[in-house]
Structure formats: C-alpha cells, structure tokens
Amino acid sequence: MILTLVWAGVIAFAVLAYTLLDGFDLGVGILFTVERRDADRDVMLNSVAPVWDGNETWLVLGGGGLFAMFPLAYAVILPALYPAIIAMLLALVFRGVGFEFRFRAATARGRAAWDAAFLSGSALAAFCQGLVLGGLLQGIRVVDRVYAGGWWDWLTPFTVLCGAAVVIGYAMLGACWLVWRTDGLLQQRCRRHARVLAVATLGCIVAVSLWTPLLNPAFSQRWFGWPGIVLTSPVPILVAAVGWAFWRGLSRGHQFTPLLCAQAWFVLCYAGLGISLFPLIAPPSITIWEAAAPPSSQAFLLVGAAVLIPVILAYTGFAYWVFRGKVRPGMHYH
C-alpha cells in the first residue's frame, strides 16, 4: 500500500522532471523555426548541450520504472498509443543525432540537414507527448488485462489539441530558458517569443482544462463536486497568479523569473492532472492499486532507487550550477 504510493510518486516525479527538463530543450529545438541564423542556433544549442542528455534519461527511467512497478499500466498504455509512442521515440532518436552531428558536419548543407532533423524531431516528439497525454485522459479500453481498441483510436480532436498544447508550451519553456541563458538581440527576441507563446499556452491550458471534465464524469465530479473542489479551486487561482508574476518578470527584464513561472505553470497543470486522475493510472478503470507489482518487487527496486536517485539529483543540480551564466557566440560549453 505505502510502497505502491511511494512508487507512484517516484514515477510521477520522473515524468514531471522529464517534462520540466526536456521540455525546455525540446522547446529550443522548436524555436529553430523562427531563429534561423547559424550563429544564434549555435548559441541556442550550446546553452542546452551540457544538460540535454541528462534531461532525456528521465524518460528512460520513467518507462523502465513503469514496466517494473506498474506492469499492467505499461502493458495497456503503450499498445493503446502505439503509433504516437513509436513516432516519439524515433523523433527523439533523430533529434539527438541531429544535435550531435550538426557540429561534425563537413559542409553547410550537411549542417542544414541535421538542423532540420533537430527541429522536426523536437517538434514531433513534443507533439507526440501531447497525443499520449490526451490519449491517456480520454481513456483506454481494456478487456482481460489487455488493450481492446484499434491502433488509431487515440486520434481525436482532443488529442490533437493536447499535442498542439505541448508543442506551444515547450516552445514557451524554451524561450524562457533562452531569456535566462543568452543576452543581446537573441535574448530580446526570446522575450517577445516568450510573451506570444505564454498567451497561446494559457489559451491551451484553459481549453484543455474545460474539455477534460467532459471526457469522463468522474473528472468533473472530482473538479466541481464536494470535497474535490477544495483541492481543485486553488489550481486556477494559482495559474492566474503565476501568470501575473510571469508577465511582470518579463516586462521588467528579469532573467530567471520567466523560466521559473513557466515551469510553475507546468507543475500546476501536472497537479491538476493528478487531481483528475488519482488513483487512476490508466483511465477510465485501472488504478495504481490494480496495476502495481507485488511488494517484493517494489521493495527490491526501491533499495537501488533510494540510493541512486538522490545521487543523480544532486549531481544534476551540481551540473546545472556549474554551467550557469550566459552563453555567448563562439563560446563552447566545454
């Protein structure tokens, strides 16, 4: 019981860490659509170069953890969202390689090709993550512990909206990251991007939030019924408050506040998701209690996780600290 809660928390944390961290570096890739100058792109990439791989590893940890600790959820969610997940994986592969090979390309054309791989891979990966989120909220049909739908069932206007929302949201995170880590004209432009993208993100948050309760009566009961509303009502209020702080920080030329606020928005949305779903792990029917591995598995893996995850976190924090400060043209991260 306690172990199941602990593991649900650990995996939820891994997924949140992934969205917060890889979100901004996927966003940097998405911003390649508007930032076309080679020198700017160099700076943008160098700003995420030391951390992007670590960011992505949370995705492996989340996937592996889900397999081990909630096998049933892993076994129904992945087939239900099969094309979206495969597209996401391949997009991440493509983007990662584009990232590395861009700096090794011998010709300008090769460089442009790897840039295109980085841009399209980043955008597609973000879009697919939105599809996965939307597909999960919509619910997965399960019969006898097996996914019982077709392989395109997930594709609906709602999932496409979620896909677009994640692309826009990540781009906002990316713009805020660059506000923090760059200066000069690039930083000024990123402030503008951040402003536009934040408005769009807020629009998406409102749209998805209004749509979600319609998908499942349990969600609307949770959000608008008693006692759920005690828990849920602060969420929109906090979103508004953070939005105000974001706007103020951006207008007054703060460096770090916009990123902090943008990430706070993500955390709040995530908390909202948690409120809707808990204790479901694969809506509409599978709970964490049903999907959980037996206690002997939970305890066995917890030993390693309890030692390694804090070390990894501390180390990640240290790496971010070491690489703080502005990235300027011609400056390598090494």
Partner: protein, 466 residues
C-alpha cells in the same frame, strides 16, 4: 491478417532493434575494459604509446557509447509496445532487473563517463583512472543485470504464478542467479572482449600496411593478437560449458542447433546440412559419427535427444538455429586459429611483417560482432516457441496490435536506424581511417556529444585538479 504473421513481424522488429542495439553495448563493454588496461599500463610504465592508443580509442568510445544510449531509449519501451502481454505477466520479475540496468547506466552517464572523456587534463591522474575503472565496471554491471533478466527468461526459477498468470517474485537470489546466468554472463563478456580485440587488431593491421614503424599501431595489433591467443581458446571452453548447461535445461534448443532428428547412442555431429522441419530430417547432412556424443556428453556412446523427441509445436525453427550456431562456432574457431598463427609468427619474430596475417586480421574486423549476433540468434530463436522457457509462449506474449501497425513501425525503425546509425558508422570509420599519432588528442571539447552526459567535468579549468 493472421495472428501468426503479426507475431513473426513483432519478433522481427524486436530482433532488428535489439540486434542493432546489442552491438553497441558489446562494443562499449569491451572497449571500456581495454581503455582501463591501457590507462593502467600508462600509469605503470609512463610510456607515451599507451596514452596515445588510449586517447585514440577514447574518441571511438564516445561515439559508440552515444549511439548505444540512443538505441537503448527505444529498448525501454519495446516490451510494452509489441510485447504487452509479456510485460504484464513478467513485469514484476524482469522489470526490476531491467530498471537496475537503467539506474546503473544513468549513474554512469551522469558522472564518471564525462570525467573519463574530458577530465584527463583537469582532475588528476588517480581520479581519472578511477573514473575509467568505474566506467569499465559500470558497463560490466549493466551486462550483469541485462543477462540476469535474459537468463531468467531462459531458465526461470524463484517465482510463483498468480491465478491470472502473472509471475510473482519469490526469491530474488534465485531469480538473478538462475541456472544459465553464470554461463551466459561469462560467454557474453568474453565475446565482447574478443569482438573489440578483433576490431582493434584490424585497425592496427590496416595501418601497419602503410606505417609499419608507428609504435601505437604496432601496440594495438600486438595486444589484439595476444588477446586472440589467450582468450579465444578460453571462449571455446566457455562456449562448451554453456552448451552443456543448455543441454541440461533446454534440450530442444540443443537438438535444433545440432540439426539431429533421432535419439540414439553415439550421436553423430552433423557438420553441415539443411534441417527440414516439414519432412523431419536434415537434408544433405555431412556427419561425423560419435562426435556429437563426445562433445555434448563427453562419452563415446552417449545419446542426445533428437528433435523428434519433442512434439512438433515445441520445436524451435532448426534451420535458423543450426546455421547461426555454425557461423558462431566457425568464427570462434577461426579467431582462435588466428591467435595461434599470430603467436607462432611472434615467436619467429615476424608478427608485424606477415602480409597474409595482416590481410586475414583486416578481413576479420567484424568477426567478433558477427559471432556475437549469431550466438544471440542461437539462444533466442532456440528458446522458441517460448518467451519464458516452458511457461509463457511467444504467441501469448504479443501486444494486440495488428499486422499493419507492426509492419509500418518496423519499416519506420529500419529507415531511421539505417540513416542514424549509418551516419554514426561513417563518423566512426572516419576516425579510425587516420592512424594514431604521438601525442594523440582526446575527444574534441566544444562539440556536444551525448555520452558526455551531464558531467560538469568539462567546466573545470584545465590543469587544475580539485
């Protein structure tokens, strides 16, 4: 659209992605240990040539490790995508073992790898050597967990079955140290070492042709040939022991790789032929009487169960297993022979002078990796029709995804992998085409590479050990 075809495609997809992936960790495992040996020798002798070879292969290591991380990401999701029923039923046992591997790899990437790659001028010799050793140990630890998971699927124990068919762990010690695990681990780790030895040897041999006086080139070639001489015969022995273990636990696999249908005393060894599953015989068989019994039972008149001793639906597809086994054994013996040949030439003082040895070693550059893939084909196809041997059938392990879904994703994987890893191979070959030089540089700083992980090592100023 038939279920059997969807299963076959799902297997093809897994075989393709894992086949691509396995080469990269195998490369990393072998190379990490080689690098540790080189750095140790450098610290012990202070001879520049060890450092040069170390730096040369360190650059290759960075690329190979990075590619392995990429293909590993896909593997973390494969089990759920195409093998959902397997994932649901075995997740509680196999999942934690895999997760320990993920944590180990994560830990490595997070820290020591970056120090190993970029820290040599920055952290001091002892710390750097410690990082190299830890990376080598880390790659071996990764192998430990993955092979524990795989071996448990081959020889499952230490579990109970729940009423709904799930495997529940009862004894983790028994699960990890299952009967085939020690044999598989030893056989695989040696295979990694040999694969890298032959690749290093081939690069050495290639450059020897043009630059016979290059000390670093001579060192690579010589060390590789020592490995071939000393380790290839050990591998033959380890393989033999692994085979005996398989005979004990998975006799149908041995029958399939022997390609023998009958059970009779003094089983012959079929050298070549083509097992015919429909007619229940092996066509064009060339066999040596009694040798099969001698190898597998270590007695003249021993009997090994033939394929007919197993019901048709429980027979692994013999032609694949039979030929994969011959490729593996053939290459293994060839590697041992090259080792002996090089040893003999070394005694006569002609190790670096023989053009024929050079050519043979260049030709055998991929021999280890090919043998390794063939070996995995033997063990994985030979386990059919089960995923968890004797308990869970492959047909009951797949996801409910129809043919079109599996077929199109397989196509996408093939296209993307060929582009991405093709490009990676080109970079690697570009690196190896140039011989190592005196004062060889390490991996280029200022160029992002995934294997740098999230280490802060590059930010530490050069020449200032903390």
């Amino acid at each position: 659209m038939s279920g059997a075809d969807a299963v076959l495609l799902a297997r093809a997809q897994f075989a393709f992605t894992i086949g691509f992936h396995i080469v990269l960790p195998a490369f990393s495992i072998g190379l990490a240990s080689y690098l540790a040996v080189l750095e140790g020798l450098w610290l012990a002798t202070h001879r520049q040539v060890y450092l040069d070879v170390f730096q040369y292969w360190l650059k290759a290591f960075a690329i190979v490790f990075a590619m392995g991380v990429v293909s590993g990401l896909v593997m973390a999701y494969e089990f759920g995508l195409n093998w959902a029923r397997f994932a649901d039923r075995t997740g509680a046992v196999v999942g934690p073992l895999m997760s320990y591997e993920v944590l180990t790899a994560f830990f490595l990437e997070a820290g020591f790898l970056g120090i190993m790659l970029f820290g040599r001028e920055r952290v001091g010799r002892t710390v750097h050597f410690a990082a190299t050793l830890l990376v080598a140990m880390g790659t071996l630890t990764s192998a430990f967990w993955i092979l524990a998971a795989n071996s448990w699927m081959q020889t499952p124990q230490g579990y109970t079955l729940s009423p709904d068919g799930r495997f529940l762990p009862a004894d983790w010690w028994q699960i990890i140290f299952n009967p085939s695990f020690p044999y598989r681990l030893v056989h695989m780790v040696i295979a990694c070492f040999l694969s890298v030895a032959f690749l290093v040897g081939a690069v050495g041999a290639w450059h020897l042709r043009r630059d016979a006086q290059n000390q670093a080139v001579r060192l690579m070639f010589s060390m590789a040939m020592w490995m071939a001489l000393a380790v290839a015969p050990i591998q033959v022995l380890a393989g033999d022991q692994h085979g005996l273990n398989t005979l004990q636990h998975q006799p149908a696999k041995v029958a399939a790789l022997e390609g023998d249908w009958e059970t009779r005393p003094g089983t012959p060894l079929i050298l070549f032929g083509m097992p015919n599953m429909r007619e229940e015989r092996t066509d064009w068989a060339v066999e040596i009487p009694h040798l099969g019994a001698l190898v597998l039972t270590h007695s003249w008149d021993g009997a090994i169960k033939g394929l007919k001793a197993f019901p048709p639906e429980l027979r692994p597809p013999s032609p694949v297993v039979f030929w994969a086994f011959r490729i593996m054994v053939g290459l293994g013996l060839l590697m041992a022979a090259v080792g002996l040949w090089a040893g003999w030439l070394r005694v006569r003082g002609r190790l670096y002078a023989s053009a024929w040895l050079r050519r043979a070693v260049v030709a055998m550059a991929p021999a280890g990796f090919v043998a390794l893939l063939a070996g995995w084909t033997v063990t994985e196809v030979g386990r059919q029709p089960f995923t968890v041997y004797g308990v869970l059938r492959t047909a009951d392990s797949v996801s409910p995804i129809g043919m079109p879904g599996v077929a199109s994703s397989l196509t996408a994987f093939v296209v993307v992998y060929l582009i991405v890893f093709g490009a990676g191979a080109v970079f690697l070959l570009r690196l190896l085409r140039r011989p190592p030089s005196v004062g060889e540089s390490g991996p280029p700083a200022g160029v992002p590479i995934r294997s740098a992980g999230i280490t802060p090592a590059p930010a530490i100023p050069e020449g200032r050990a903390p």
